[in-house]
């Protein structure tokens, strides 16, 4: 992130006070025209049904002044950051510092993640929050397979999360199956629904695909609400069993873990167990994804994202490629759903609204499509940030909206937009791809 600040300013870009002032004036003028009716005049139905109105020129003036000032600040910032649409060369020391940080950031984060329950053992709130963040990291990594790698825009990812959660909840409450039996079942069921969604949308891409997946997410939610006899409808499913540590319950009974180890029981034990469980599941997701990327199927996903026609010309079976992407992504969503159910002990359709899909998608896009580390960072920022700004209350969404817009302006490919190649030849490395601009000659 810090690399951009050290860029040399570009000579070709017009700068200077007159230019900035002119731009700010134009912006202010546009704001004046826009807001004069929206803000300047307030209309309301009067007591007799007639229209009454009054003017608010003070507010209007304040807004226009804000736009004027803001425009100057944005322009100054822009010149300080350097041109955003050009990949300018990064100075050597910054570059090496960046690559150093890049190499050590992921291992450092991983070590920190393992130590979280040790450091924050007494702080239940932080443990709870970390579990939540890791759940979203896992969901983000799962969706990353579909959106980031295969390039299939999926707005209904929460459906698979719901399928996983309800699979575990219903199997456990009705048949008494344990978490460890249900976990793979939840994954398989979610993958099955992923394939089921995949078939009708095979021919669709882009916007059309997004709409169908959005509808699919809603269908699953509506079925859950209305199929009362099975799912309990809006009341949800309660009394979902807690996970056991391979058969040993984590409670204060005589057969519980604490009693067996001869230590005093504490509810934190379960929290720590849940933390390591979701950490292991998320890391499994990550490992599988990294492995798959290096196999022909993973390369085929990425190639599919780049150019479907070329894929067909190369003899890639696009049908199975798309379906495996949907199934793989859905399976991880199902795992995460089963974890969610066992953690909460209670699930209802309210947990699986479109907002969840949007949040996970935002994590993937902000993180940088296809980048595993980026997705993890984005989940940490989004979910952690939501909690940090809880004090700001109703301004929270505003702050996040602005932060997202700014991020997309300065880093349009997400936090980590760089894509690591998966094929290496030992006799190469003439020019790094980072230093070369895209050409269309």
């Amino acid at each position: 992130m810090s690399a951009t600040s050290a860029r040399p300013s570009h000579a070709a870009q017009p700068s200077g006070g007159a230019f900035i002032l002119k731009k700010a004036l134009i912006s202010a003028l546009v704001a004046l025209v826009l807001f004069s009716l929206m803000i300047g005049v307030r209309t309301e139905a009067g007591p007799q049904g007639g229209l009454i109105y009054w003017t608010r020129f003070g507010d209007l003036a304040a807004l226009v002044a804000t736009v004027f000032g803001g425009s100057i600040i944005v322009e100054l910032l822009r010149q300080w950051w350097g041109p955003i649409d050009k990949d300018s060369l990064v100075p050597k020391p910054v570059q090496s510092a960046m690559s150093f940080a890049g190499r050590w950031l992921a291992p450092a984060l991983l070590v920190f993640a393992f130590l979280v329950p040790v450091i924050f053992y007494d702080q239940r709130y932080i443990l709870d929050l970390s579990i939540l963040v890791l759940t979203y990291v896992m969901l983000g990594w799962g969706l990353n397979v579909v959106v980031g790698l295969a390039g299939l825009l999926d707005l209904g990812y929460v459906a698979f999360y719901a399928v996983g959660a309800y699979s575990y909840a219903l199997l456990a409450t009705n048949f008494g199956l344990s978490f460890w039996v249900c976990l793979p079942l939840a994954g398989i069921l979610a993958a099955f629904w992923g394939v089921l969604l995949g078939f009708p949308v095979l021919r669709l891409r882009g916007d059309y695909l997004a709409i169908v997946t959005l509808a699919f997410g809603e269908i699953i939610r509506l079925v859950i609400i209305n199929w009362q006899s099975l799912t309990g409808g809006p009341n949800g499913v309660s009394g979902i069993p807690r996970p056991t540590m391979f058969g040993i319950p984590l409670d204060n009974s005589d057969s519980g873990l604490a009693a067996r180890l001869g230590i005093e029981f504490s509810p934190t034990h379960r929290l720590v167990f849940l933390f390591y469980l979701i950490l292991a599941m998320a890391l499994l997701t990550n490992w599988v994804t990294i492995r798959l990327r290096r196999l022909p199927i993973g390369r085929a996903w990425e190639a599919l994202r780049e150019d479907e026609v070329a894929c067909r010309a190369l003899g890639i079976n696009t049908t199975t490629t798309k379906l495996t992407a949907f199934a793989t992504g859905a399976m991880f969503g199902g795992f995460a759903g089963a974890f969610f159910a066992t953690r909460q002990g209670f699930i209802s359709p309210e947990s699986f609204t479109f907002q969840e899909s949007a949040l996970v998608l935002a994590i993937v896009v902000l993180g940088g499509m296809g980048s595993q580390l980026g997705v993890a960072l984005a989940a940490l920022t989004m979910i952690g940030g939501f909690e940090l700004f809880r004090g700001l209350d109703q301004y929270r969404m505003l702050v996040f909206g602005i932060a997202m817009v700014l991020l997309m302006i300065w880093r349009p490919r997400g936090l980590i937009g760089h894509r690591a190649p998966t094929v290496f030849l030992e006799r190469n490395q003439a020019i790094s791809s980072d230093l070369v601009k895209e050409g269309h000659g």
Binding site: D307, V309, R312, L314, P421, V423, I431, S432, S433
Partner: protein
């Protein structure tokens, strides 16, 4: 240089019709390609040249007629299986994978056919010998290459599947004449050294017919003329339609 008529051709297209919806793009096309030949398919925009190439690849499917490859009927074979029969195509407009590196683009070509590590290495050596520029840029993203390099990459990618028949759709499209000549030279080298059979679809009739052993001229979904490259170049109607066409407005 005309191949013996007695031997069965590597690819035989017989009476093929294909359509997009109700618009018939191929109205009964017969084309034969013998092993070791370069065959050029020339014609104006919308004549159906690219459609023929794609129909051989099974998309769109032929509505009538048969396509035989190496003695087998491949008319109904799914597209991805046709590629495994070692027919490779370099589609119109190059269509390399822009965010993937040159090495990955080449690997994508090898992925289609199950090949051993040694075969993959041999394939890479062959591509790099043909286009040394690609070797210099092997770690670069495909999208950062120039147009000519992208065309080299598209051909290289197709070669990685070790094809017996290589189909090229407008390899000189949008390239400077010098670069186009390099591409054509590379195709000639491939044909002479490895005996690779090539079907080349081109608008650049002059270049294509000089390169090819035989040529077909396509107009409105039908083959109107066929002959050796040199013969076709001499035909007054070819000269008028494709070589001096610009002058008549």
């Amino acid at each position: 240089m005309s191949a013996a008529q007695a031997t069965t051709p590597l690819l035989a297209v017989r009476g093929v019709r294909a359509a997009y919806g109700k618009i018939e793009a191929l109205k009964g096309v017969d084309v034969e390609i013998n092993a070791g030949e370069i065959v050029a398919l020339i014609g104006a925009n919308g004549a159906g040249k690219s459609t023929l190439m794609m129909t051989i690849f099974g998309r769109p499917r032929a509505r009538a007629g048969t396509i035989e490859y190496d003695g087998h009927d491949i008319t109904g074979v799914p597209t991805h299986e046709i590629a495994r029969l070692r027919i490779a195509q370099s589609p119109e407009g190059r269509r390399i994978f822009p965010r993937m590196s040159v090495a990955e683009n080449l690997q994508m070509g090898a992925d289609a056919t199950e090949c051993t590590e040694a075969e993959r290495e041999a394939g890479l050596d062959r591509v790099f010998a043909l286009f040394p520029r690609l070797k210099e840029r092997v770690a670069q993203r495909g999208g950062t290459l120039s147009g000519g390099e992208q065309q080299m990459l598209a051909i290289g990618r197709a070669l990685m599947s070790r094809p017996r028949l290589l189909m090229l759709d407008e390899p000189s499209l949008g390239l400077a004449p010098l670069i186009a000549r390099q591409i054509f030279d590379a195709i000639r080298t491939l044909n002479r050294q490895d005996g690779l059979t090539v079907l080349i679809v081109e608008q650049n009739a002059n270049h294509a017919l000089k390169l090819a052993h035989r040529g077909y001229v396509m107009v409105n979904g039908l083959i109107t003329l066929a002959g050796t490259g040199a013969e076709l170049l001499q035909r007054p109607e070819i000269r008028a339609a494709y070589l001096e066409g610009g002058r008549r407005g």
